[in-house]
């Protein structure tokens, strides 16, 4: 995140380095668009999103540097998904500035973002193999071999239809698709909600083992427990505003609590 990250102990980065079965591949070089700057992968400045008379997102600002896993935590209706969709260019910001690798969200930024939405991004009648072929055809940075191995490991068959899968299997499959791209910014909206605890560990491992050295992950969630083990930075968002931000270590030392305990205290849940 913005503030003095270099000085802090990079806990999640340490965990990633310690992970044994990890293959670290640098993101493939591509023809870079004008204005490209990867010193800061994501930058939000005074971003607002208005829905009628209400601000769903109100004056949100933060930066994310390469190599970080950031969690944006907050209850339902706090503006998490709106921020995620604005970063991905799926909805425009009412005010403020968003930049992904120095570029405003547009067609050019799509190549740098891998997005996992909260709701299924495929139709019920779609087969895993169909989405697999689509990813392979459209995304040059998609590691098909790795995805196949992960599907096998997760017990998901290529012929499975999304509509007939359990919520957990569907989320696992979507997460595999998203994380098997070698891109710069992974935007994950509620990757661990609506799934069983064991699957949460699978997704946590998936994130740790697949993100690149030069990439970052931003996770929007209302379930902090499993995330705490893998994140570097944390932000609490409430009614569209960032209420608390810092590295995990900072938060722990300042409040004397684990992130999940602090989350329960702040949001009284």
């Amino acid at each position: 995140m913005t503030s003095d990250n270099s000085k802090k102990k990079n806990t999640a980065a340490h965990k990633r380095k310690a992970a044994p079965a990890k293959k670290r591949v640098k993101t493939a070089e591509k023809a870079l668009p004008q204005g490209y700057n990867d010193d800061i992968l994501l930058s939000l400045k005074n971003v607002k999103k208005r829905y009628g008379n209400i601000y769903g997102v109100n004056d949100v600002s933060f930066d994310i540097e390469p190599g970080r896993i950031v969690a944006v935590l907050g209850p339902d209706g706090s503006g998490k998904s709106s921020v995620a969709r604005m970063i991905c260019g799926l909805t425009p910001a009412s005010k403020g500035e968003i930049k992904v690798c120095g570029i405003k969200p547009s067609r050019n930024t799509k190549q740098f973002i891998s997005f996992l939405p909260e709701i299924p991004f495929v139709n019920d009648y779609t087969k895993v193999s169909t989405v697999f072929r689509r990813y392979k055809a459209f995304f040059k940075d998609f590691d098909a071999e790795k995805a196949e191995k992960l599907f096998k490991y997760a017990g998901i068959r290529m012929n499975d239809t999304f509509g007939r899968m359990s919520a957990t299997a569907m989320q696992k499959a979507q997460a595999i698709f998203v994380m098997c791209r070698k891109t710069r910014l992974y935007v994950l909206d509620e990757p661990m909600t609506h799934i069983e605890p064991k699957a949460r560990d699978f997704i946590a491992k998936l994130i740790l083992s697949n993100m690149q050295d030069d990439s970052s992950v931003i996770i929007f969630s209302r379930i902090p427990n499993e995330l705490e083990k893998i994140i570097d930075d944390v932000m609490f968002i409430h009614r569209g505003q960032i209420k608390l931000a810092g590295t995990v270590d900072e938060v722990k030392s300042e409040y004397g609590k684990e992130v999940s305990a602090l989350y329960r205290e702040v949001y009284k849940c």
């Binding site: 067609r107 190549q111 973002i113 891998s114 709701i119 299924p120 991004f121 055809a137």
Partner: protein, 270 residues
């Protein structure tokens, strides 16, 4: 190009799968009509109940005609519905994250709709021709045009007329689809809610009115006037109308699709 083909095939299969049932219903109706107009069916009626036979026969032609038109309308409607579902709902996130231009998404949907419509039109035309052999009234009506083209002193190319007719119908359908695409895209200018629905509704009718004004201007500029002084003038006017309105619809369709792509590129609000 390969990526566009993948998009097109996906859209084509989806629109086809959703609208094939309506085309099948129309084909079944044509088979039923053909049977009703056959000798075998007539044998079941006596001279006293012949009026019933005639009533059934003419009703079947009416129902078959309605179902054929309904099938064509449903293909266009399905294309528009698929556009909304695949581009403007939560399920469209993956489409919008693909490294492609928005116009490719819009164009593939329009072309897929047009391709399905062409296929449906071909099948339904075959059904019409097949049934017309059995139904004397339809056969007579279809027979008038070739007879007329062979009339002395009448300069009328039947093949050209049919080509223009097909072109006109396809362009009209493309125009309806692109108008729907454009109005649905206009809804993206505001966040979800009643405002969006109102904007789509108003936008659709505004586009229709603008289009009508454009078509009228083109017809006037081309100097086309409706004259019924002779059969030749009727055919000439019809030919000009098909040509000019078909071309105008094509231009309007391209403009609306470009407008839809521009809105979806810069003001996407899913």
């Amino acid at each position: 190009m390969l990526r566009f083909m993948i998009l097109f095939i996906k859209d084509f299969c989806r629109v086809l799968a959703r609208s094939v049932v309506y085309v099948l219903i129309a084909i079944i109706a044509s088979l039923v009509t053909s049977y009703v107009w056959g000798e075998g069916f007539a044998e079941k009626f006596s001279v006293q109940t012949a009026y019933r036979l005639n009533a059934i026969r003419y009703c079947s032609v009416g129902v078959w005609g309605i179902l054929t038109v309904f099938a064509a309308i449903m293909v266009v409607y399905t294309s528009c519905q698929w556009f909304g579902e695949d581009i403007l709902t939560n399920r469209s996130y993956l489409n919008h994250m693909l490294p492609i231009y928005t116009w490719e998404l819009v164009l593939s949907k329009a072309l897929a709709g047009l391709a399905v419509l062409s296929a449906a039109a071909a099948v339904l035309t075959y059904a019409v021709i097949n049934v017309s052999d059995d139904i004397s009234i339809v056969g007579d009506m279809l027979g008038i045009i070739p007879d007329l083209s062979k009339s002395d002193g009448l300069n009328f190319d039947l093949a050209l007329f049919i080509r223009l007719g097909v072109y006109f119908v396809l362009m009209l359908c493309l125009y309806i689809m692109s108008t729907a695409f454009m109005s649905l895209s206009l809804g993206q200018l505001v966040s979800r809610g009643v405002g969006r629905s109102c904007l789509i509704f108003i936008g659709f009718f505004a586009l229709i009115f603008v289009s009508m004004a454009v078509v009228m201007t083109v017809v006037k500029a081309a100097g086309i006037t409706l004259t019924f002084s002779s059969i030749q003038s009727i055919f000439d006017t019809a030919e000009n109308i098909l040509k000019y309105i078909g071309n105008t619809n094509l231009v309007l369709s391209v403009l609306f699709m470009a407008g839809a792509s521009t809105i979806l590129t810069y003001r996407l609000n899913v």
